[in-house]
Symmetry: C2
Subunit: 268 residues, 2 copies
């Protein structure tokens, strides 16, 4: 579906998340089928990464995003899309923008994001990364009958143990840790963190709920990761009348938190 | 500052969060000094509650909010304000709106919110409410030299123990639980939950950081509380180069989670 046929994992990520300027504030994007979920729709994290990159390119600020808050309004489709970026506020510490994704005149998602420098050195970390065996000691689901194609060719997953839901025996505890990286170890930039918070199987599957759709997702971006795998902590603690939160933490191999997110999702 | 002088706690909350329709999509609000923080600015949770009520009134949907994601762009002031509400998507399960708050032509905050019914009964709660002594066995900070006036006349706080920051001895652990309610026990509606997630002293004060400004705040609304106090759990786990998250859970006296939030804030 892309006019540029990528030849490597490196290219695929860049080509598929890059939009081109049409007029000031309006950008053209082609969403490919290379990030499709099992229901044959582009993954929501891919949508977020493409909208974020389009916003960063449009704003032209030399900073990574600080946060993004996205609302998903309807299912995205493979094919052309329009990204509209409106600068909302040029603050001293945060530049804020409002971004919309449209397909065939239909609003697919709206996002507010903030970009800016981090000038303060104060850092206090009271959390800790997931306790996972080394990636090469973990299970590659594609070796064990896991899904392939689309999204599953774009991200590498490594599980410490076989998830209960994958064997038809959900554990009842919707929490799991796993390793992730972009396919082939491609460099992870800030935009890709927006993808990686929504690229793994949802933990609510451990409650036997196999379909969950994201309504709203907020990501905090803390730093770019060191090269390597991303230790990913996913959990759902509160399922209330059909809606549930899903928390995600991404930690790099040097043990630093690189991003965290929370989403509100609805059972399908 | 209000044209209507309220005569009770009941009135204050309703008057101060209610805006009046000017033209379709545009509403007039008067922000009073009754919700001021110690820096003499209207509290961010009050701003959120007023924007949410304005959005709900404008949309005219018979449902409570499901979520609200607000970005604070500049300091709010006591005085007149304009709320602009744009319906973004009328979905089958979620009605989404984009809302802006302006003062003197200056953009103060932008918010995306979703409203809708909860038709699914499935509920699984894996968390638990804070373990707090009964409210009447807890400390009322106003009896112990705590601040009064403004915000502190609008919300009742009860602490299990004297916070370290209040005695000049921050504990080093930015987490605390407390009871809260609207002043005098006024009924808590869904909009007020948007206030209560941002109405208590920030836990980062236990790191000796006495000034923290919210950049972005996302709230999930689960249910209206039963009458009584709200057990409030606040924590900051990750302070990264001057920015930190703050998580909040609100539990009613019957032990049910009524709302949860996460904000990204910047040290002052």
């Amino acid at each position: 579906m892309s006019s540029t046929e990528p030849t490597s994992d490196e290219d695929v990520y860049l080509v598929d998340t890059t939009s081109t300027a049409r007029t000031p504030g309006v950008r053209d994007l082609v969403m490919t089928d290379r990030w499709n979920t099992p229901i044959e729709r582009p993954n929501g994290g891919y949508v977020l990464a493409a909208m974020l990159r389009g916003t960063g390119d449009e704003l032209g600020v030399p900073h990574d995003p600080l946060y993004a808050a996205i609302s998903y309004l309807g299912p995205p489709s493979v094919g052309p899309a329009t990204i509209e970026v409106e600068p909302v506020k040029q603050g001293r510490r945060v530049v804020t923008a409002s971004t919309r994704l449209l397909q065939d005149g239909r609003l697919v998602a709206v996002m507010t994001s903030g970009f800016g420098p981090r000038e303060d050195e104060r850092t206090t970390e009271l959390g800790s990364p997931p306790a996972l065996p080394a990636p090469d000691q973990c299970l590659d689901p594609s070796d064990h009958g896991g899904p392939t194609g689309g999204l599953f060719d774009r991200v590498d997953h490594r599980f410490a143990t076989v998830p209960g839901w994958s064997t038809g025996a959900p554990s009842g505890d919707p929490a799991h840790d796993l390793w992730q990286r972009l396919a082939g170890g491609r460099t992870i930039d800030a935009y890709a963190l927006g993808f990686l918070v929504d690229s793994a199987p949802p933990p609510v599957m451990e409650l036997g709920e196999m379909a969950s759709m994201t309504v709203q997702l907020t990501v905090h971006f803390h730093r770019r990761p060191t090269p390597g795998w991303i230790a990913t902590r996913l959990s759902t603690r509160h399922l209330v009348t059909g809606f549930h939160e899903e928390d995600c933490e991404l930690w790099d191999e040097s043990g630093r938190l690189v991003a965290q997110s929370r989403q509100l999702a609805i059972l399908g």
